[in-house]
Subunit: 229 residues, 2 copies
């Protein structure tokens, strides 16, 4: 291991899906030499979906550089993609990073930052097709690698993504030890985690709940894509 810290930045934003960030964080924070930076557009407190409030985030403008940038998703990801105090810093930090990463709809933010043109990327299944608006190639993998870009699918995929990244950085044996330490031997009570395996009526109900969000999000994605120029 090098003595230099491995700087890992999570750029947070209001109403993010907190598990997109906290899942990978729990694994990555145990990497030898990891220095985790929680940042946001304005610094200070960031409230996530469900009322969890993360304190003491630093201003993105004050973060010089990083080795890994990991962008979480959320129902508000397209608001973040249109925030001039957020998106340009994601682009800047990603340009100097060894690994550019995202979980869930965080890949839409990477896309809006112009970082995914011609690249394969994962995303939450319900919003995956929107990636193509940014010139990215939607991929239905749970963890997708294209060069130094590593993206995870929806929410809980962040854990599989994190283990993959840990293995890449610290080797298989370390990653396996971390999996054991965090007892990651998942046993979901149902096989409903993907649209291909969920009962059709469950998929229909989830799609119906998301329908009212589609129009706003699509408009925002188009505005973000137009802003890419």
């Amino acid at each position: 291991m090098s003595a230099a810290p491995l700087v890992i930045v999570f750029p947070l934003y209001p109403q993010l899906t907190q598990l997109d960030f906290t899942g990978p964080h729990q694994f990555l924070c145990r990497l030898p030499g990891a220095e985790i930076v929680l940042a946001s557009a304005r610094g200070g407190e960031v409230e996530a979906e469900g009322g969890v409030v993360f304190a003491r985030t630093v201003r993105l403008a004050d973060v010089d550089r990083c080795d890994v940038i990991c962008v979480p998703g959320g129902l508000t990801c397209t608001d973040a993609a249109l925030d001039p105090d957020y998106l340009p810093h994601v682009r800047r930090l990603a340009q100097g990073a060894r690994y550019v990463t995202s979980v869930c709809t965080g890949s839409l933010i990477l896309g809006a930052a112009g970082l995914l043109q011609g690249r394969r990327a994962a995303c939450h299944w319900a919003w995956r097709d929107l990636l193509s608006e940014f010139g990215a190639i939607p991929d239905d993998g749970r963890v997708v690698r294209d060069g130094h870009i590593l993206t995870g699918g929806g929410v809980t995929a962040g854990i599989d993504f994190a283990l993959t990244l840990v293995a890449e950085i610290a080797g298989d044996a370390f990653a396996q030890g971390l999996q054991l330490g965090l007892e990651y031997a998942p046993a979901p009570p149902y096989r409903a985690g993907r649209p291909e395996t969920a009962p059709p009526e469950v998929l229909a109900a989830v799609n119906a709940r998301m329908a009212p969000l589609l129009e706003k999000r699509f408009a925002q994605v188009r505005a973000a894509a137009a802003a890419m120029g």
Copy 2:
């Protein structure tokens, strides 16, 4: 659904393992009518392992009652079990709760509160045997139910625990929709998540890393068990 909120309390404490709390939270916060209360002994900010700081927690003494109490684990769980501003409130809130629950070593806290006598409970594999000091019956299940007590195994088991609890409260179809919405179709890159399946040299390395913690934790568990009277 009843119109009354379903009050779910997470009693946090310094240096908890944040995913023990954030994993279940992400699922439980989407339950219809859920009112999530993040509480701690002294209120305000709580810093977890890895530097995540949770803001705006309320004082446990100010929480009247709850429907569900969910106690997370952490390397400092036995410190919490010995904290007179923490443990008595866990006991009090649990006594009026419909579901008494924990993730990972949070079950040691339930045990220290005298809530697990003669009950089967799960725990992180490395500390599971300590449950018997509190008169509990260690169970190697990932999610263990004994009456109204629902406990999850180590860290990531909190997600399987949460889905089980969601199904109990809101039914299978709702739980499946949530699993789909959070894309919980886990695909770990290794089968190293349990001591029975991890490569022996990986298990040996993890055990060696934990050895220095054993003596202090065992002493604390004995002190907490003695305090149960």
